[in-house]
């Protein structure tokens, strides 16, 4: 579904959601970062370079940025957001805080959870659910990015069950968004904790992450679904390459 197919009501709902989150952002963004840093004791190596790359990409892009990352835990999106900019930056440049599409089963079970993810720029999706509903979520994200917002997607479509980037698992959603928005900037992010052998619900307390970032300009000569899938696969191939560099650097 093209982004322009969104109804006025759907667009208004997204604008309201964004504004509610923005007004509360000095509180909730700071709290989330503090919880990760001081509550969980997490640290990230490569922070300065990742933040510089994100800022440069952000400033040079009138069409928004889509962050594509590997996926190991249910809180990856929070850690990645923290890795890409400090809390104050997001409060001042709220558009640069990425929209997410968390799995509905995991994050929208209770009213409290739904309220929290509403504020935190999330649009829940039921993976493997009705294709029309999934399509509407993609259309919402596409519309938001077309307005200069940032988004975060996991091209594998779920947490890596092997613990490694699965190049064969690519879904077409990311490619579909990228192809729908010429000029959209793509930033590949590989984030992994030293203690993360495989996927899990959350990283261990005291985890030390390493982050790598690389801009990418995926292209495809194909149209339709084949073109979207090819773009998604190029992004996943880049993440696989970054994973190899991650492990090579640790030898």
């Amino acid at each position: 579904m093209p982004a322009e197919a969104l109804s006025f009501r759907e667009r208004a709902q997204l604008v309201i959601q964004r504004e509610v989150g923005r007004l509360l952002s000095p509180l909730w963004v700071s709290l989330v970062v503090a919880a990760m840093r001081f509550g969980m004791g997490w640290r990230i190596e490569g922070l300065a370079e990742a933040r510089r790359a994100y800022r440069e990409l952000w400033r040079g892009s009138p069409h928004g940025v889509i962050v594509c990352a590997n996926h190991l835990t249910m809180v990856d999106s929070f850690v990645i957001a923290w890795a890409l900019a400090p809390a104050w930056w997001y409060v001042l440049h709220y558009r640069s805080l990425q929209w997410n599409t968390p799995e509905q089963e995991n994050f929208a079970r209770t009213f409290g959870m739904r309220a929290a993810i509403y504020v935190a720029k999330c649009i829940p999706v039921r993976r493997g659910g009705d294709r029309r509903e999934v399509g509407r979520v993609l259309a919402r994200i596409t519309w938001l990015l077309s307005r200069g917002e940032a988004g975060l997607m996991f091209p594998e479509g779920g947490r890596s069950r092997s613990g490694r980037v699965d190049a064969g698992a690519s879904t077409y959603g990311v490619g579909r968004i990228v192809r729908a928005l010429p000029g959209l900037r793509v930033l590949c992010v590989y984030l992994r904790g030293d203690g993360q052998e495989t996927w899990s619900d959350a990283p261990a307390p005291g985890e030390r992450f390493r982050v790598r970032v690389e801009p990418l300009e995926p292209k495809s000569d194909h149209g339709g679904l084949r073109g979207s899938l090819e773009v998604s696969r190029q992004i996943l191939a880049k993440l696989g390459e970054m994973e190899r560099e991650h492990f090579d650097a640790r030898r």
Binding site: Y172, G224, L229
Partner: protein, 82 residues
């Protein structure tokens, strides 16, 4: 191409991706691809690409959103074949 022929080819393409093989015995237009046949949602893309190759058609991204049942696949392919 006859609708029946399209249906048979669609089922043949789906078969390698079906986890619930028992459901294939009673497959019909209303059979849900993900819920009944237990095809992995990520593999749905491969299935649609196989339709493109088999029937020599191009399926736009947004048309994939309308694919939930075997009947949806048959209708989509029939539409593209004109």
């Amino acid at each position: 191409m006859e609708r029946k022929e399209i249906f048979e080819k669609v089922v043949k393409i789906l078969t390698p991706h079906v986890k619930n093989q028992a459901a294939l015995a009673s497959v019909s237009d209303s059979t849900h691809i993900l819920d009944d046949l237990k095809v992995n949602s990520a593999r749905l893309v491969d299935v649609v690409l196989a339709f493109e190759d088999e029937f020599d058609i191009e399926i736009p991204d947004e048309d994939v959103d309308s694919v939930n049942t075997v009947g949806d696949c048959v209708r989509l392919v029939a539409e593209k074949l004109g």
